[in-house]
Symmetry: C2
Subunit: 209 residues, 2 copies
Amino acid sequence: MSAIRLLVLGAVRQHGRAHGYQIRNDLEFWGAHEWSNAKPGSIYHALKQMAKQGLLRAHDVEPSTVGGPPRTEYELTDAGDTAFHGLLRDALTAIDQKPDMLTSAVGFIVELPRPEAIELLRRRVAALEEWRHEVTRYWMPSEDAEEGDHIGEIMRLWVHTADCGAEWTRGLIERLERGAYVMEGEGERPLSVLPIGAKNPFADRPRQG
Amino acid sequence: MSAIRLLVLGAVRQHGRAHGYQIRNDLEFWGAHEWSNAKPGSIYHALKQMAKQGLLRAHDVEPSTVGGPPRTEYELTDAGDTAFHGLLRDALTAIDQKPDMLTSAVGFIVELPRPEAIELLRRRVAALEEWRHEVTRYWMPSEDAEEGDHIGEIMRLWVHTADCGAEWTRGLIERLERGAYVMEGEGERPLSVLPIGAKNPFADRPRQG
DNA sequence: CAGAGGTTAGTCAAACTTGACTAGTTGCTC
DNA sequence: GAGCAACTAGTCAAGTTTGACTAACCTCTG
């Protein structure tokens, strides 16, 4: 599953009630169209699909006096709220290769109570360590594999990525333990946007070919 | 674009001539169905699509005496070979968030002459460093952003990922410079498979939720 | 006020992805 | 030698993604 559902549910949830274009604008402001599949068609599709599946309640706004295309506003149902938290928890603990999922989850992490967020991140670290242990039991990343098969480089890339992921996760756990940020149930939270200059992250750089 | 075209082109190319099921088996042996979208439907779709676009030449194998479904064999056209090398070069230098692309490219890196591979990887490092420079010019990853906006964590995650990516790339460059592996034009290359125990990397671990 | 260009809001066809399904062929076992 | 599993090879419908397109309004500018 892609990150679109988590992003759309989270964005609708922050508004309470929102129509497609608002979500689209929010996510564009996050730069999400650059590092995830949060593009117009996908957003509208996800809204309709999740409404059909009972995660969102659709309100046909009466065609306002100003005309324009008919709008539909959405809000989370109880099932939608459950789904949002489920996706958020999964995205934080799953150690698969989905950077857009993890990024989205970090964006919504303050929607969780602090102890739960920390617990989920600890599980992430544990999963990464366990995976590393299993893999290197069969394959030793020796420093002098020079003559060996180049496919070992794939293993090396993955192990390196896992180690880095664990390191970052440990850092975040530490910051959360020291009381960083305002989490769910800790009072008024500011609306969050990406810092200036972050609009163009990794994605879609011009190729140097 | 996903990694499917690079994987399929590269697999067909290694065989010279192959039909869908062979490709499917090869990629499954790589474990590619675990960490990329190399699944049956996508493979057959990619083969047909690329044949239609002139990247592959399709040969309808005469319905063999043994019966069974009609098979089609494919081989790369000149355009296909160009496309393969283009995708491979792009995948090595592009610093976007596509681990499956990079993994596939590492799998085929020996199809490039050594100096070119090293040059491409140097560009990757340069692109990562430039990106980091640009981003941190606007956003300082200070150690004590504790009271700040949690969205800064996304930046921190990305910068950390970029640094790690650069580190791994530098390591690979060094190994290549020391003469590791047998590259294009350097004689007979062994057929490569993933090492035992690597079948189940990051992807699709059971959730601990 | 005509027309250019931007904003708001959403649709659509074409392409891609998924995984369950078909259907024949061997191989193995009792 | 019947039955069943596993292998070979591929198809298909349903769902998802993409980005170009529509279409109305809004706001300048001359």
